[in-house]
Subunit: 343 residues, 2 copies
Amino acid sequence: MKIGFDAMGGDHAPVETVKGAVDALSLIEGEIVLFGDELKINKELSQYKYDQKRISVVGTTEVIENDDKPVKAIKRKSDSSMVVGMKALRKREVDAFVSAGNTGALLAGSLLKVGRIKGISRPALCTIYPTMSGASVLVDAGANAECKSRNLLEFAYMGSLYAERVIGINNPKVALVNIGAEETKGTPLYIETYQMLKETDLNFVGNVEGRDVPSGKVDVIVADGFTGNIILKLTEGVSLSIVKELKNQIVKNSIGKIAGLLLKRNLGDFKKQLDYSEYGGAPLLGVNGLVVKAHGSSNAKAFMNAIKYAYIGVESNLVAEITEKIKTMPAFEAPVENEEENE
Amino acid sequence: MKIGFDAMGGDHAPVETVKGAVDALSLIEGEIVLFGDELKINKELSQYKYDQKRISVVGTTEVIENDDKPVKAIKRKSDSSMVVGMKALRKREVDAFVSAGNTGALLAGSLLKVGRIKGISRPALCTIYPTMSGASVLVDAGANAECKSRNLLEFAYMGSLYAERVIGINNPKVALVNIGAEETKGTPLYIETYQMLKETDLNFVGNVEGRDVPSGKVDVIVADGFTGNIILKLTEGVSLSIVKELKNQIVKNSIGKIAGLLLKRNLGDFKKQLDYSEYGGAPLLGVNGLVVKAHGSSNAKAFMNAIKYAYIGVESNLVAEITEKIKTMPAFEAPVENEEENE
């Protein structure tokens, strides 16, 4: 197995990308193929001891920047680490492609260079959402701001398979984010999607309100990309604010400081539970090849984990599983939106 | 001044409503008028010592339940505490009306029995959103799941006035919830609203992402009611989950337990900061009279605070201020949606 990895993507490339790749070798089997500036990558690699047979470099001369226009960048920067990597995925020279680069470009590149799975109208970002009882899956986390009910239906199928095959949740409970429990709640989009989900063979458990999202009582949280993105970032924001305020309260007097020292170890475990870098990456499901988006601010640990989950995704045959499962979706044959692809 | 109060609304009525009313007397000037079952209310009142001239009871024989259909309930249950209270508000027999009853019915009743302010197409729930640096205002918190850009524009005006007049924030920073900072981000609804907000004389500071909502860096958070409701409830859910997990981590060994005892006082302040009942109620802005929705699970403290904020709203002339300010809104004269009202 070969995991392709955009060594130039993210705020801390190539220092953290290369370190993450080297660290990932202990977690996976097979090889990692780094795409990017050969000189810079090799300079970083030279600092580490690792099995040289397991990491190779494909030299590229361009980088897609965060402020590049996605479609234009994909079309013009044909020797960028992202485009070359995705072409390699299409040709199955690599089995997955991980990148922390420009999200819009990664989405556009997936459509234009890799292509969609038959029956999928819109690929979606599927992210692991840490809960207090473990992990749920949130889909779409932001790839599609505006959605139709058919898109949400596809998200539900893909998220359910991801939860089952990659996270290992048996018969995952699928829920629709909403503002109330009743099936008549929410916008027309959500009311319609609810009815469609009832007709599937997914383990659909109804609506989940914002209050219950972090509890882990459902496994797959289905949302349009606007709502999903806000859920993801708000959760992060609230967690950070609370932890910060907690620290302020602890250190505000000397008794608190002593207690804080006593608690150091206990709070370390707590912090780990809130740490998003434990999960590292979100696959762009629906693409006909495993593309994984890592957070732009990823450090080596987050990259290592993104590579690990890409590996599990390949091992569990995720793309082929989605391709088969989506054929059982009601309205599978309905016309899907046309997007320019595979130019 | 007279604050009308639905003594039968909420999960813990009339025990907690009556206690909340009695407790509120120390925070406000003027009188409280309780609407509801006279016998039950008087039985509760008889337990307390208070200035009897300042609390009166208007007896009603019906109660709108949580599972009643809103419009039907408002039309049929004409002797319910909610309907009688809202009619009194319309006739200005009371200056505000506070209720923890059925949200949909309160919204329908506001439209049908009290009426909208001229130029407002949709009243919105405006809630105080506790942040680590104080309090922001979130509007709409859930009254309108499906919105148009004109609705969001109105929400911005009303939220800004609420922040200024009731919370006391000078020149409040108004922001649109979105999935990115750039003005081209989000759904067509949000892209259009951004452009409209730029043309106003509000202190519009652009988009705010989910991550920054809890930081308090903006004062007025404008969202459609679907997104706003999810933001509100998710924040509550994440806070509760973290506090619960924190407790688990502290008590998991004896060192932690000792530290926990030392921290008891510091963590008390922290808990208070997260306590939603400090704020108690959300006004339904845009109604031609001050209607305040209290949370269904409110306890006496939450009711006391809801009454306090209703009092501040009346004191600061909020409804008249909105009526004047909304006349300066671009497109004020545009046709507004027709809803049956003031039957």
